[in-house]
Amino acid sequence: MEFFQYDFIQRALLAGLITGIVCPLIGSFVVVRRQSLIGDGLGHIAFAGVTGGYMVGLYPVVGALILTIAGAVGIELVRRKHTEFADMGLAIFFYAGAAMAIIFSTMTRMPSTGLLSFLFGSIITVSLTDVITIAGAGTLVLIIVYFLFDKLMLMSLDEDIAHVAGINTGMINMLFSILTALVVVVGMTIVGILLVSALMIVPVATAHLLRVGFKATMGWAVFFSMLSVFIGLTSSFYLDIAPGGTIVMTAIFLYILMTIIRQYIAYKEKRKEQSLSFLGDK
Protein backbone atom coordinates (compact mmCIF):
# COMPACT_ATOMS: atom_id res chain seq x y z
CA MET A 1 0.00 0.00 0.00
CA GLU A 2 1.20 3.46 -0.94
CA PHE A 3 0.15 4.71 2.51
CA PHE A 4 2.73 2.67 4.44
CA GLN A 5 5.67 3.54 2.15
CA TYR A 6 6.16 7.05 3.48
CA ASP A 7 8.58 7.45 6.39
CA PHE A 8 6.44 10.16 8.00
CA ILE A 9 3.40 7.86 7.91
CA GLN A 10 5.36 5.05 9.56
CA ARG A 11 6.49 7.46 12.30
CA ALA A 12 2.96 8.83 12.76
CA LEU A 13 1.46 5.32 12.91
CA LEU A 14 4.00 4.13 15.45
CA ALA A 15 3.56 7.21 17.63
CA GLY A 16 -0.22 7.02 17.15
CA LEU A 17 -0.51 3.38 18.15
CA ILE A 18 1.59 3.91 21.30
CA THR A 19 -0.67 6.86 22.10
CA GLY A 20 -3.64 4.61 21.39
CA ILE A 21 -2.43 2.18 24.04
CA VAL A 22 -1.48 4.55 26.87
CA CYS A 23 -4.37 7.04 26.61
CA PRO A 24 -7.15 4.53 27.48
CA LEU A 25 -4.92 2.78 30.04
CA ILE A 26 -4.80 5.97 32.10
CA GLY A 27 -8.29 6.95 30.93
CA SER A 28 -9.77 3.75 32.46
CA PHE A 29 -8.81 5.00 35.92
CA VAL A 30 -9.59 8.66 35.14
CA VAL A 31 -13.19 7.75 34.16
CA VAL A 32 -13.98 5.69 37.27
CA ARG A 33 -12.38 8.34 39.49
CA ARG A 34 -14.87 10.84 38.00
CA GLN A 35 -12.03 13.02 36.68
CA SER A 36 -12.91 12.91 32.99
CA LEU A 37 -12.11 16.58 32.46
CA ILE A 38 -8.59 16.43 33.90
CA GLY A 39 -7.16 15.69 30.44
CA ASP A 40 -8.71 18.91 29.10
CA GLY A 41 -7.28 20.93 31.98
CA LEU A 42 -3.83 19.45 31.49
CA GLY A 43 -4.13 19.91 27.72
CA HIS A 44 -4.48 23.65 28.18
CA ILE A 45 -1.47 23.69 30.48
CA ALA A 46 0.46 21.67 27.87
CA PHE A 47 -0.43 24.35 25.30
CA ALA A 48 1.07 26.98 27.61
CA GLY A 49 4.15 24.73 27.89
CA VAL A 50 4.49 24.49 24.10
CA THR A 51 4.29 28.25 23.60
CA GLY A 52 6.38 28.98 26.71
CA GLY A 53 9.00 26.45 25.59
CA TYR A 54 9.13 28.07 22.14
CA MET A 55 9.54 31.47 23.81
CA VAL A 56 12.60 30.44 25.83
CA GLY A 57 14.10 28.38 23.02
CA LEU A 58 13.20 24.96 24.44
CA TYR A 59 11.97 22.01 22.36
CA PRO A 60 8.16 22.58 22.60
CA VAL A 61 7.40 19.01 23.74
CA VAL A 62 9.92 19.37 26.60
CA GLY A 63 8.33 22.72 27.55
CA ALA A 64 4.91 21.04 27.54
CA LEU A 65 6.20 18.15 29.63
CA ILE A 66 7.70 20.41 32.33
CA LEU A 67 4.67 22.69 32.65
CA THR A 68 2.08 19.90 32.41
CA ILE A 69 3.76 17.85 35.15
CA ALA A 70 3.99 20.99 37.32
CA GLY A 71 0.28 21.62 36.62
CA ALA A 72 -0.66 18.02 37.47
CA VAL A 73 1.20 18.23 40.78
CA GLY A 74 -0.57 21.55 41.52
CA ILE A 75 -4.02 20.13 40.69
CA GLU A 76 -3.38 17.13 42.98
CA LEU A 77 -2.24 19.37 45.85
CA VAL A 78 -5.34 21.58 45.50
CA ARG A 79 -7.55 18.46 45.30
CA ARG A 80 -6.14 17.24 48.63
CA LYS A 81 -6.59 20.61 50.30
CA HIS A 82 -10.14 21.25 49.02
CA THR A 83 -11.71 17.79 48.78
CA GLU A 84 -15.24 19.23 48.78
CA PHE A 85 -14.57 21.41 45.70
CA ALA A 86 -11.96 19.28 43.94
CA ASP A 87 -13.06 20.33 40.44
CA MET A 88 -12.71 24.02 41.34
CA GLY A 89 -8.91 23.64 41.51
CA LEU A 90 -8.94 21.91 38.12
CA ALA A 91 -10.94 24.79 36.63
CA ILE A 92 -8.45 27.38 37.94
CA PHE A 93 -5.50 25.47 36.46
CA PHE A 94 -7.46 25.02 33.22
CA TYR A 95 -7.98 28.80 32.87
CA ALA A 96 -4.42 29.60 33.95
CA GLY A 97 -3.10 27.26 31.22
CA ALA A 98 -5.26 28.86 28.53
CA ALA A 99 -4.34 32.38 29.68
CA MET A 100 -0.61 31.61 29.76
CA ALA A 101 -0.81 30.03 26.30
CA ILE A 102 -2.42 33.21 24.91
CA ILE A 103 0.21 35.43 26.57
CA PHE A 104 3.19 33.30 25.47
CA SER A 105 1.97 32.81 21.90
CA THR A 106 1.29 36.53 21.52
CA MET A 107 4.68 37.47 22.97
CA THR A 108 6.65 35.05 20.80
CA ARG A 109 4.65 35.40 17.58
CA MET A 110 4.84 31.63 17.16
CA PRO A 111 4.09 30.62 13.54
CA SER A 112 0.44 29.67 13.15
CA THR A 113 1.28 26.40 11.36
CA GLY A 114 3.28 25.25 14.40
CA LEU A 115 0.51 26.30 16.75
CA LEU A 116 -2.16 24.52 14.71
CA SER A 117 -0.17 21.29 14.54
CA PHE A 118 -0.01 21.21 18.35
CA LEU A 119 -3.68 22.16 18.69
CA PHE A 120 -5.14 19.74 16.13
CA GLY A 121 -2.36 17.14 15.80
CA SER A 122 -0.29 16.41 12.75
CA ILE A 123 1.02 13.41 10.87
CA ILE A 124 3.71 15.20 8.94
CA THR A 125 5.43 16.91 11.87
CA VAL A 126 6.09 13.72 13.89
CA SER A 127 9.88 13.52 14.06
CA LEU A 128 12.05 10.57 15.03
CA THR A 129 12.78 12.39 18.31
CA ASP A 130 9.01 12.55 18.94
CA VAL A 131 8.66 8.81 18.28
CA ILE A 132 11.53 7.99 20.66
CA THR A 133 10.12 10.33 23.34
CA ILE A 134 6.61 8.86 22.95
CA ALA A 135 7.94 5.27 23.05
CA GLY A 136 9.99 6.01 26.20
CA ALA A 137 7.11 7.75 27.96
CA GLY A 138 4.67 5.03 26.85
CA THR A 139 6.90 2.26 28.20
CA LEU A 140 7.20 4.08 31.52
CA VAL A 141 3.41 4.43 31.77
CA LEU A 142 2.91 0.73 30.94
CA ILE A 143 5.42 -0.43 33.56
CA ILE A 144 4.00 1.77 36.32
CA VAL A 145 0.38 0.84 35.56
CA TYR A 146 1.34 -2.87 35.55
CA PHE A 147 2.93 -2.65 38.99
CA LEU A 148 0.32 -0.35 40.53
CA PHE A 149 -2.76 -1.82 38.84
CA ASP A 150 -4.42 -3.30 41.95
CA LYS A 151 -3.64 -0.29 44.10
CA LEU A 152 -4.99 2.12 41.48
CA MET A 153 -8.13 0.01 41.09
CA LEU A 154 -8.86 -0.08 44.82
CA MET A 155 -8.10 3.64 45.19
CA SER A 156 -10.52 4.32 42.34
CA LEU A 157 -13.20 2.36 44.21
CA ASP A 158 -12.54 3.83 47.66
CA GLU A 159 -9.49 5.73 48.82
CA ASP A 160 -10.19 5.21 52.55
CA ILE A 161 -10.23 1.41 52.20
CA ALA A 162 -6.97 1.61 50.26
CA HIS A 163 -5.41 3.82 52.94
CA VAL A 164 -6.40 1.44 55.76
CA ALA A 165 -5.04 -1.48 53.69
CA GLY A 166 -1.62 0.13 54.04
CA ILE A 167 -1.38 1.79 50.61
CA ASN A 168 0.46 5.11 50.43
CA THR A 169 -2.47 6.82 48.70
CA GLY A 170 -0.86 10.27 48.73
CA MET A 171 2.21 9.08 46.87
CA ILE A 172 0.24 7.00 44.35
CA ASN A 173 -2.23 9.82 43.65
CA MET A 174 0.68 12.13 42.93
CA LEU A 175 2.33 9.54 40.68
CA PHE A 176 -0.97 9.00 38.85
CA SER A 177 -1.32 12.75 38.24
CA ILE A 178 2.19 12.85 36.79
CA LEU A 179 1.41 9.83 34.56
CA THR A 180 -1.74 11.58 33.33
CA ALA A 181 0.35 14.64 32.47
CA LEU A 182 2.81 12.40 30.64
CA VAL A 183 0.04 10.79 28.60
CA VAL A 184 -1.43 14.19 27.67
CA VAL A 185 1.96 15.29 26.33
CA VAL A 186 2.45 11.97 24.54
CA GLY A 187 -0.99 12.24 22.93
CA MET A 188 -0.83 15.89 21.92
CA THR A 189 1.69 15.24 19.13
CA ILE A 190 -0.74 13.04 17.21
CA VAL A 191 -4.25 13.92 18.37
CA GLY A 192 -3.56 17.53 19.30
CA ILE A 193 -3.95 19.37 22.58
CA LEU A 194 -7.65 20.12 22.07
CA LEU A 195 -8.67 16.47 21.68
CA VAL A 196 -6.06 14.42 23.53
CA SER A 197 -8.47 14.05 26.44
CA ALA A 198 -11.05 12.49 24.10
CA LEU A 199 -8.72 9.57 23.36
CA MET A 200 -8.43 8.99 27.10
CA ILE A 201 -12.20 8.98 27.64
CA VAL A 202 -14.22 7.97 24.53
CA PRO A 203 -12.71 4.46 23.95
CA VAL A 204 -13.18 3.75 27.68
CA ALA A 205 -16.82 4.88 27.46
CA THR A 206 -17.30 2.52 24.47
CA ALA A 207 -15.69 -0.38 26.37
CA HIS A 208 -17.97 0.28 29.38
CA LEU A 209 -20.96 -0.51 27.15
CA LEU A 210 -19.72 -4.11 26.87
CA ARG A 211 -20.35 -4.54 30.61
CA VAL A 212 -17.32 -6.73 31.23
CA GLY A 213 -14.87 -6.62 34.18
CA PHE A 214 -12.29 -3.93 34.89
CA LYS A 215 -9.34 -5.60 33.14
CA ALA A 216 -11.48 -6.63 30.18
CA THR A 217 -12.90 -3.08 29.91
CA MET A 218 -9.36 -1.76 29.82
CA GLY A 219 -8.37 -4.28 27.13
CA TRP A 220 -11.35 -3.39 24.95
CA ALA A 221 -10.71 0.34 25.46
CA VAL A 222 -7.16 -0.12 24.16
CA PHE A 223 -8.55 -2.04 21.16
CA PHE A 224 -11.13 0.68 20.32
CA SER A 225 -8.50 3.37 20.79
CA MET A 226 -5.95 1.70 18.48
CA LEU A 227 -8.66 1.08 15.89
CA SER A 228 -9.65 4.77 16.07
CA VAL A 229 -6.02 5.86 15.68
CA PHE A 230 -5.46 3.57 12.70
CA ILE A 231 -8.67 4.52 10.86
CA GLY A 232 -8.28 8.19 11.85
CA LEU A 233 -4.69 8.45 10.64
CA THR A 234 -5.47 6.67 7.36
CA SER A 235 -8.44 8.93 6.62
CA SER A 236 -6.41 11.95 7.70
CA PHE A 237 -3.82 11.08 5.03
CA TYR A 238 -6.31 10.50 2.21
CA LEU A 239 -8.65 13.37 3.08
CA ASP A 240 -5.83 15.79 3.98
CA ILE A 241 -7.44 16.65 7.33
CA ALA A 242 -5.72 17.15 10.71
CA PRO A 243 -5.62 13.71 12.43
CA GLY A 244 -7.03 14.95 15.76
CA GLY A 245 -10.47 15.38 14.20
CA THR A 246 -10.54 12.11 12.25
CA ILE A 247 -9.24 9.99 15.15
CA VAL A 248 -11.69 11.39 17.68
CA MET A 249 -14.64 11.26 15.27
CA THR A 250 -13.81 7.59 14.58
CA ALA A 251 -13.75 6.92 18.33
CA ILE A 252 -17.12 8.68 18.72
CA PHE A 253 -18.56 6.73 15.77
CA LEU A 254 -17.50 3.48 17.47
CA TYR A 255 -19.20 4.68 20.67
CA ILE A 256 -22.46 5.41 18.84
CA LEU A 257 -22.27 2.07 17.01
CA MET A 258 -21.72 0.19 20.26
CA THR A 259 -24.61 2.06 21.91
CA ILE A 260 -26.94 1.00 19.09
CA ILE A 261 -25.74 -2.63 19.29
CA ARG A 262 -26.22 -2.57 23.08
CA GLN A 263 -29.76 -1.20 22.73
CA TYR A 264 -30.56 -3.83 20.10
CA ILE A 265 -29.30 -6.64 22.35
CA ALA A 266 -31.32 -5.29 25.29
CA TYR A 267 -34.43 -5.11 23.06
CA LYS A 268 -33.93 -8.70 21.85
CA GLU A 269 -33.43 -9.94 25.43
CA LYS A 270 -36.60 -8.20 26.55
CA ARG A 271 -38.56 -9.72 23.67
CA LYS A 272 -37.19 -13.17 24.53
CA GLU A 273 -38.18 -12.74 28.19
CA GLN A 274 -41.68 -11.63 27.19
CA SER A 275 -42.06 -14.65 24.88
CA LEU A 276 -40.93 -17.03 27.62
CA SER A 277 -43.33 -15.54 30.16
CA PHE A 278 -46.15 -15.72 27.58
CA LEU A 279 -45.42 -19.42 26.98
CA GLY A 280 -45.21 -19.95 30.74
CA ASP A 281 -48.65 -18.38 31.19
CA LYS A 282 -50.07 -20.72 28.54
Partner: protein, 242 residues
Protein backbone atom coordinates in the same frame (compact mmCIF):
# COMPACT_ATOMS: atom_id res chain seq x y z
CA UNK B 1 -2.41 -10.45 69.20
CA UNK B 2 -4.80 -7.72 68.14
CA UNK B 3 -5.72 -5.79 71.24
CA UNK B 4 -6.98 -2.30 70.44
CA UNK B 5 -6.26 0.30 73.10
CA UNK B 6 -7.59 3.85 72.96
CA UNK B 7 -5.95 6.16 75.51
CA UNK B 8 -7.54 9.54 76.27
CA UNK B 9 -8.60 10.12 72.66
CA UNK B 10 -9.76 13.63 71.86
CA UNK B 11 -10.74 14.91 68.44
CA UNK B 12 -12.31 18.14 67.25
CA UNK B 13 -13.33 19.53 63.87
CA UNK B 14 -12.23 23.16 64.16
CA UNK B 15 -13.91 24.14 67.45
CA UNK B 16 -16.52 21.34 67.45
CA UNK B 17 -15.55 18.54 69.78
CA UNK B 18 -16.38 15.18 68.17
CA UNK B 19 -14.61 12.85 70.60
CA UNK B 20 -13.91 13.87 74.18
CA UNK B 21 -11.40 11.91 76.21
CA UNK B 22 -12.33 8.34 75.31
CA UNK B 23 -10.28 5.48 76.74
CA UNK B 24 -11.13 1.83 76.24
CA UNK B 25 -9.50 -1.49 75.49
CA UNK B 26 -10.89 -3.98 72.99
CA UNK B 27 -9.51 -7.49 73.51
CA UNK B 28 -8.55 -10.01 70.84
CA UNK B 29 -11.67 -11.80 69.60
CA UNK B 30 -14.16 -9.19 70.86
CA UNK B 31 -17.17 -8.19 68.78
CA UNK B 32 -17.87 -4.61 69.80
CA UNK B 33 -20.98 -2.70 68.75
CA UNK B 34 -20.45 1.07 68.83
CA UNK B 35 -23.81 2.77 69.31
CA UNK B 36 -24.97 6.32 69.95
CA UNK B 37 -27.18 9.09 68.53
CA UNK B 38 -26.51 10.94 65.27
CA UNK B 39 -23.45 13.17 65.51
CA UNK B 40 -22.14 11.31 68.57
CA UNK B 41 -18.75 10.73 66.95
CA UNK B 42 -19.16 7.00 66.20
CA UNK B 43 -17.78 7.13 62.66
CA UNK B 44 -15.04 9.53 63.76
CA UNK B 45 -13.97 7.07 66.45
CA UNK B 46 -13.87 4.24 63.92
CA UNK B 47 -11.77 6.37 61.54
CA UNK B 48 -9.37 7.12 64.39
CA UNK B 49 -9.02 3.38 65.13
CA UNK B 50 -8.47 2.77 61.40
CA UNK B 51 -5.73 5.41 61.34
CA UNK B 52 -7.61 7.50 58.76
CA UNK B 53 -7.64 10.57 61.00
CA UNK B 54 -5.19 11.55 63.66
CA UNK B 55 -6.64 12.33 67.10
CA UNK B 56 -6.05 15.85 68.39
CA UNK B 57 -4.84 14.25 71.63
CA UNK B 58 -4.32 10.70 72.83
CA UNK B 59 -3.07 7.52 71.25
CA UNK B 60 -4.41 4.42 69.52
CA UNK B 61 -2.41 1.24 69.93
CA UNK B 62 -2.97 -1.98 68.05
CA UNK B 63 -1.15 -5.01 69.39
CA UNK B 64 0.91 -2.69 71.61
CA UNK B 65 2.13 -0.51 68.72
CA UNK B 66 0.99 2.96 67.70
CA UNK B 67 -1.61 2.65 64.90
CA UNK B 68 0.54 4.63 62.44
CA UNK B 69 3.51 2.33 63.08
CA UNK B 70 1.46 -0.88 63.28
CA UNK B 71 -0.47 -0.40 60.04
CA UNK B 72 0.58 -2.95 57.50
CA UNK B 73 -1.18 -4.78 54.72
CA UNK B 74 -3.80 -7.18 56.01
CA UNK B 75 -3.79 -6.12 59.66
CA UNK B 76 -7.03 -4.14 59.47
CA UNK B 77 -10.02 -4.65 57.20
CA UNK B 78 -12.22 -1.58 56.85
CA UNK B 79 -15.70 -1.27 55.37
CA UNK B 80 -16.76 2.39 55.49
CA UNK B 81 -20.34 3.63 55.55
CA UNK B 82 -20.28 5.42 52.21
CA UNK B 83 -17.83 3.01 50.68
CA UNK B 84 -17.07 3.36 47.06
CA UNK B 85 -18.37 6.83 46.25
CA UNK B 86 -17.41 5.64 42.81
CA UNK B 87 -19.04 2.21 43.17
CA UNK B 88 -22.05 3.22 41.06
CA UNK B 89 -21.27 1.84 37.61
CA UNK B 90 -17.80 0.67 38.66
CA UNK B 91 -16.78 -1.89 36.04
CA UNK B 92 -14.91 -4.41 38.23
CA UNK B 93 -16.53 -7.81 38.69
CA UNK B 94 -17.21 -9.23 42.15
CA UNK B 95 -14.31 -11.67 41.66
CA UNK B 96 -11.92 -8.85 40.73
CA UNK B 97 -12.91 -6.81 43.79
CA UNK B 98 -12.62 -9.71 46.25
CA UNK B 99 -9.25 -10.73 44.79
CA UNK B 100 -7.94 -7.21 45.52
CA UNK B 101 -7.89 -8.07 49.21
CA UNK B 102 -5.35 -10.79 48.46
CA UNK B 103 -3.23 -9.30 45.73
CA UNK B 104 -2.62 -5.82 47.16
CA UNK B 105 0.23 -6.88 49.38
CA UNK B 106 1.96 -9.15 46.86
CA UNK B 107 4.09 -8.01 43.92
CA UNK B 108 2.44 -8.85 40.58
CA UNK B 109 5.28 -11.16 39.53
CA UNK B 110 5.24 -13.16 42.77
CA UNK B 111 1.53 -14.02 42.84
CA UNK B 112 0.31 -17.57 42.90
CA UNK B 113 -2.69 -17.15 40.63
CA UNK B 114 -4.11 -20.57 41.46
CA UNK B 115 -4.03 -19.81 45.19
CA UNK B 116 -5.53 -16.34 44.62
CA UNK B 117 -8.37 -17.86 42.61
CA UNK B 118 -8.98 -20.58 45.22
CA UNK B 119 -9.06 -18.20 48.20
CA UNK B 120 -11.17 -15.66 46.29
CA UNK B 121 -13.73 -18.37 45.51
CA UNK B 122 -13.72 -19.45 49.16
CA UNK B 123 -14.30 -15.87 50.39
CA UNK B 124 -17.15 -15.38 47.92
CA UNK B 125 -18.77 -18.60 49.13
CA UNK B 126 -18.27 -17.56 52.76
CA UNK B 127 -20.26 -14.34 52.36
CA UNK B 128 -22.70 -15.83 49.86
CA UNK B 129 -21.83 -13.90 46.72
CA UNK B 130 -20.31 -16.77 44.71
CA UNK B 131 -23.32 -16.75 42.36
CA UNK B 132 -22.54 -13.13 41.51
CA UNK B 133 -18.82 -13.62 40.74
CA UNK B 134 -18.99 -12.32 37.17
CA UNK B 135 -21.44 -9.49 37.84
CA UNK B 136 -20.06 -5.94 38.01
CA UNK B 137 -20.09 -4.50 41.52
CA UNK B 138 -21.76 -1.30 40.29
CA UNK B 139 -24.80 -3.31 39.18
CA UNK B 140 -25.44 -5.00 42.55
CA UNK B 141 -27.88 -4.04 45.30
CA UNK B 142 -26.64 -2.30 48.48
CA UNK B 143 -26.71 -5.52 50.53
CA UNK B 144 -24.85 -7.48 47.87
CA UNK B 145 -22.21 -4.73 47.54
CA UNK B 146 -21.79 -4.71 51.31
CA UNK B 147 -21.11 -8.47 51.33
CA UNK B 148 -18.58 -8.07 48.53
CA UNK B 149 -16.76 -5.37 50.51
CA UNK B 150 -16.70 -7.65 53.58
CA UNK B 151 -15.35 -10.51 51.41
CA UNK B 152 -12.60 -8.25 50.08
CA UNK B 153 -11.68 -7.18 53.60
CA UNK B 154 -11.65 -10.84 54.74
CA UNK B 155 -9.51 -11.97 51.81
CA UNK B 156 -6.63 -9.99 53.31
CA UNK B 157 -6.97 -12.21 56.42
CA UNK B 158 -7.33 -9.26 58.81
CA UNK B 159 -6.95 -9.52 62.56
CA UNK B 160 -9.27 -6.58 63.05
CA UNK B 161 -12.41 -5.80 61.05
CA UNK B 162 -13.88 -2.30 61.26
CA UNK B 163 -17.35 -1.70 59.85
CA UNK B 164 -19.24 1.58 59.73
CA UNK B 165 -23.02 1.07 59.56
CA UNK B 166 -22.76 -2.13 57.50
CA UNK B 167 -26.55 -2.46 57.29
CA UNK B 168 -27.56 1.12 56.53
CA UNK B 169 -29.87 1.34 53.53
CA UNK B 170 -30.25 -2.43 53.38
CA UNK B 171 -33.55 -4.31 53.76
CA UNK B 172 -34.37 -6.33 56.87
CA UNK B 173 -33.48 -9.78 55.50
CA UNK B 174 -30.18 -8.65 53.97
CA UNK B 175 -29.13 -6.88 57.18
CA UNK B 176 -30.00 -9.99 59.23
CA UNK B 177 -27.74 -12.05 56.93
CA UNK B 178 -24.89 -9.55 57.37
CA UNK B 179 -25.14 -9.68 61.18
CA UNK B 180 -25.23 -13.45 61.05
CA UNK B 181 -22.17 -13.49 58.82
CA UNK B 182 -20.23 -11.16 61.15
CA UNK B 183 -21.21 -13.24 64.18
CA UNK B 184 -20.02 -16.41 62.46
CA UNK B 185 -16.71 -14.81 61.41
CA UNK B 186 -16.11 -13.60 64.93
CA UNK B 187 -16.88 -16.96 66.53
CA UNK B 188 -15.32 -19.30 63.98
CA UNK B 189 -12.29 -17.30 62.82
CA UNK B 190 -11.70 -15.27 65.98
CA UNK B 191 -11.58 -11.97 64.08
CA UNK B 192 -11.90 -8.91 66.32
CA UNK B 193 -14.82 -6.84 65.05
CA UNK B 194 -15.69 -3.23 65.81
CA UNK B 195 -18.96 -2.21 64.21
CA UNK B 196 -20.75 1.13 64.28
CA UNK B 197 -24.50 0.64 64.10
CA UNK B 198 -27.79 2.48 64.45
CA UNK B 199 -29.64 -0.78 64.81
CA UNK B 200 -29.12 -1.18 68.57
CA UNK B 201 -31.31 -4.25 69.05
CA UNK B 202 -29.63 -6.29 66.31
CA UNK B 203 -26.10 -5.05 66.98
CA UNK B 204 -26.29 -5.75 70.70
CA UNK B 205 -27.73 -9.20 70.12
CA UNK B 206 -24.74 -10.24 68.00
CA UNK B 207 -21.93 -8.33 69.76
CA UNK B 208 -20.36 -9.45 73.02
CA UNK B 209 -19.47 -5.90 74.03
CA UNK B 210 -21.11 -2.51 73.58
CA UNK B 211 -19.53 0.94 73.50
CA UNK B 212 -22.08 3.73 73.84
CA UNK B 213 -20.70 7.10 72.90
CA UNK B 214 -22.09 10.57 72.76
CA UNK B 215 -18.82 12.42 72.22
CA UNK B 216 -17.80 10.95 75.61
CA UNK B 217 -17.83 7.27 76.44
CA UNK B 218 -21.19 6.69 78.18
CA UNK B 219 -20.94 2.93 78.55
CA UNK B 220 -18.45 0.20 77.76
CA UNK B 221 -19.08 -3.34 78.88
CA UNK B 222 -20.69 -6.63 77.96
CA UNK B 223 -23.81 -6.59 75.83
CA UNK B 224 -25.62 -8.55 78.56
CA UNK B 225 -24.84 -5.85 81.10
CA UNK B 226 -25.90 -3.22 78.58
CA UNK B 227 -29.14 -5.07 77.97
CA UNK B 228 -29.84 -5.51 81.71
CA UNK B 229 -29.01 -2.06 82.97
CA UNK B 230 -29.72 0.27 80.08
CA UNK B 231 -32.75 -1.32 78.50
CA UNK B 232 -35.09 1.62 79.02
CA UNK B 233 -32.67 4.48 79.33
CA UNK B 234 -30.97 3.71 76.05
CA UNK B 235 -34.16 4.20 74.03
CA UNK B 236 -34.71 7.64 75.51
CA UNK B 237 -31.05 8.47 75.05
CA UNK B 238 -30.98 7.16 71.51
CA UNK B 239 -33.97 9.16 70.33
CA UNK B 240 -33.27 12.35 72.26
CA UNK B 241 -29.50 12.28 72.41
CA UNK B 242 -29.75 13.12 76.13
Amino acid sequence: MCEVKLSEIHFSYNTNVAIDNISLTISQGDFVAVVGPNGAGKSTMLKIIAGLIKPTRGQVQIGGKDIFAAKEHGLIGYVPQNYGKNAQGFPATVKEVVALGLTLGVAAAKRNHQAVSHITNHMMELVGVDQLRDRRIGELSGGQQQRVMVAMALAANPQLLLLDEPTSGIDYDASARIYELLGTLNKNLGITIVMVSHDIEKAVSWANKVACINRKLCFFGSSKEFDDTHAQARHLWYYTGQ
